[in-house]
């Protein structure tokens, strides 16, 4: 089996074991991110070529966490925090710069992976780094991992009918005859409540409303029967009054097909409604992680607190006061990440150590982690 890179499998297995133990991970973990990094080098200016320096966007900068089977795991943060890059890197749409992604596929996919020559690296987790690097491996994983994009207007090819758009994944993977594919397309449309399906198969995206288009995006993601779905801001471009309908649909489909979601959003109030755990990202790192209610009701990291304070609510009395958001300045560029704790220039509780040392994750209550010098590990 030709491999582009050699991986130190023992080291990875040890790292996985150690990390999952530290995080007190349960037995139903399906995905593990181990010190994951995704960097984008920028095009060099002349000065940079001459001096040999290079600007790098550190979009994901050492991220470690696990996702349980059947969970809705939220990655929340503002634009530029790296959440979209994280989602795409985890499922192989972007190359991994450093770190590891471990995934436990369902049996038929695991068998298919082994037929391709891959072996689990730790328990029944496969090392996605090497699988994604392999063309056949990557294609195989599309049957296990999929993505729902944010933009119902941009992510559907305007020159294809709905039938063509939905059948495409089946065509690419050589699944079924044209008649069988049509049947699957119709069932998919029924799944996302676009009924009767006959009304939709020959239409073009522009003939549908935003909400209907997003249902097509969801249907398309499910055509190959995946188990792990990254939902990248799936409702933020829809009117508020129909967002919940799409989310409800996603929940029903999760139940029906046993899905696990990685739910990316900037809207914490929305995350609260459907997510089990929330990870708050800032400039490429997870700064806080915990059960949803804990994060919402008892945020610990100064950034999470600021985010929460900034969330608007439909309370007309608010017009009589200024909104106090405990934060300074603006998000810096991910090219020039501040030293020490990357949040320190904006933090109202900044201390000297924050400007020089990167804080480490501390568990402040069961399952609730914060990366902040205000909290020190009990040694």
């Amino acid at each position: 089996m030709p491999r582009k890179r050699k991986y130190d499998r023992e080291h990875i297995a040890e790292l996985a074991e150690k990390t999952l133990k530290e995080l007190k991970a349960p037995d139903d973990v399906v995905l593990v991110s181990l010190h994951l990094k995704k960097y984008f080098p920028l095009r060099r200016t002349l000065t940079e070529i001459l001096t040999g320096r290079r600007r790098i966007v550190k979009a994901v900068d050492d991220v470690t966490f696990y996702v349980r089977e059947g969970e809705i795991f939220c990655v929340a943060g503002e634009s530029g925090c790296g959440k979209t890059t994280l989602g795409r890197t985890l499922i192989g749409l972007l190359d991994i710069t450093a770190g590891y992604v471990l995934y436990k596929p369902r049996k038929e996919i695991a068998d298919a992976l082994m037929e391709l020559g891959f072996e689990p690296v730790y328990k029944n987790f496969f090392l996605m780094n090497e699988v994604y690097e392999n063309k056949k491996g990557f294609k195989l994983m599309r049957k296990e991992m999929q993505i729902i994009f944010q933009d119902p207007y941009g992510s559907l090819d305007p020159r294809h009918t709905i039938q063509s758009i939905l059948a495409e994944p089946l065509v690419v993977h050589n699944i079924g005859t044209p008649e069988e594919r049509l049947e699957r397309v119709k069932r998919a449309l029924e799944d996302v409540k676009l009924i009767p399906p006959e009304d939709f198969i020959n239409r073009y995206p522009h003939q549908l409303s935003g909400g209907q288009r997003q249902r097509i995006v969801v249907a398309r993601a499910l055509m190959l029967n995946p188990r792990f779905v990254v939902a990248d801001e799936p409702v933020s471009m829809l009117d508020v009054s129909i967002r919940a309908e799409i989310l409800n649909l996603m929940l029903e489909l999760k139940k029906k097909y046993g899905l696990t979601y990685l739910f990316i959003t900037h809207d914490l109030a929305l995350a609260r409604l459907i997510c089990d755990r929330i990870a708050i990202m800032y400039l490429g790192r997870i700064v806080e992680l915990g059960p949803t209610d804990e994060i919402i009701e008892n945020p610990q990291h100064p950034y999470t607190k600021a985010l929460r304070a900034a969330i608007l609510e439909p309370e007309p009395q608010n017009r009589f006061k200024f909104r106090e958001v405990p934060i300074k300045g603006e998000v810096p560029s991910a090219v020039y990440i501040p030293p020490g704790c990357r949040f320190h220039p904006r933090c109202l509780s900044v201390m000297k150590i924050c400007t020089t040392e990167q804080p480490t994750m501390v568990e402040v209550s069961p399952g609730h982690y914060v990366e902040c010098w205000l909290f020190r590990k009990q040694s």
């Binding site: 935003g210 508020v240 919940a244 985010l307 439909p314 309370e315 007309p316 200024f322």
Partner: protein, 323 residues
Amino acid sequence: MSSPLLKIENLRVYYYSLRGIVKAVDNVSLEVNRGEVLGLAGESGCGKSTLGYSLLRLVPPPGRIIGGRILFDGNNILEWPEEKIRREYRWKKVSMIFQGAMNVLNPVKTVGDQIAEIFLVHLPDKFTKKEALEKAKELLEMVGIDPRRVKNYPHEFSGGMKQRVVIAMALALNPDLVIADEPTTALDVVVQAQIINLLKKLKKERNMSIILISHDLSLIAEMSDKVAIMYAGKIVEYGISDYVYNNPLHPYTQGLIRSIPRLKGPKELVWIPGQPPDLRTPPAGCRFHPRCSHATDLCRKEEPPMIEVEPNHSVACWLYAKK
């Protein structure tokens, strides 16, 4: 209080497109007093942006204002010649913060030049180039940007700062009324809070009136004294903010408010089934009836009038008509 600063009476703005007439604003009546913020809430395609443009007579063709009056300080500006609108009204009395505003800054001109341009174009005899640039610096400071940045180009600013520049430009000639069309869309929640604080501060300092147009009812609540809920080209509910939010009358308003995710309380997913109608062929009778769980035959046949249910709170819904 004296007469309102702005009175919109039975306004109709239709788009005459090749595929039919889009009745974007269909018999809308509203009022804004001095120093007051009117929130115009509605979802995509309800006509709220078109309403905003019509107040500046900037409705793009094939749109046309075909009926009603817009009274600014008692004068029907729809009767004014274009020259007068340009010389006396637009930007001086009423200005606008456009949707997606940060993308309308000219990328090849400095921010200072773009702000200065306002003075040079609208008040050509009163300002030299140097003086206009000085005003630009003052305006930047007013919106919380270092005045030395007049010589920076738009791409050197973050999204939030570009929005501040656009706000500065809207306020340059000290208008009585500013129309803010989705002023914080595409801005992060923290930046949004900062921009809102800025608008609140400026409103207070200048006793400005604002028409805040948004689909975000939480944003509307954050700033508005009065709220008008728009659906399919019509105003369905209108009143003092507290009344509308605490006692929403129209089923659409009720649905909208209930579908906002909250940080406290039950975790329920609430939505309004269906979608807004095509404004070329809106439903007969009440335009909301296909999505309304209370719809009756009357709703399907006849359009409900605006009914005052309590002082300063009106609703266009047959549920509230006296028997």
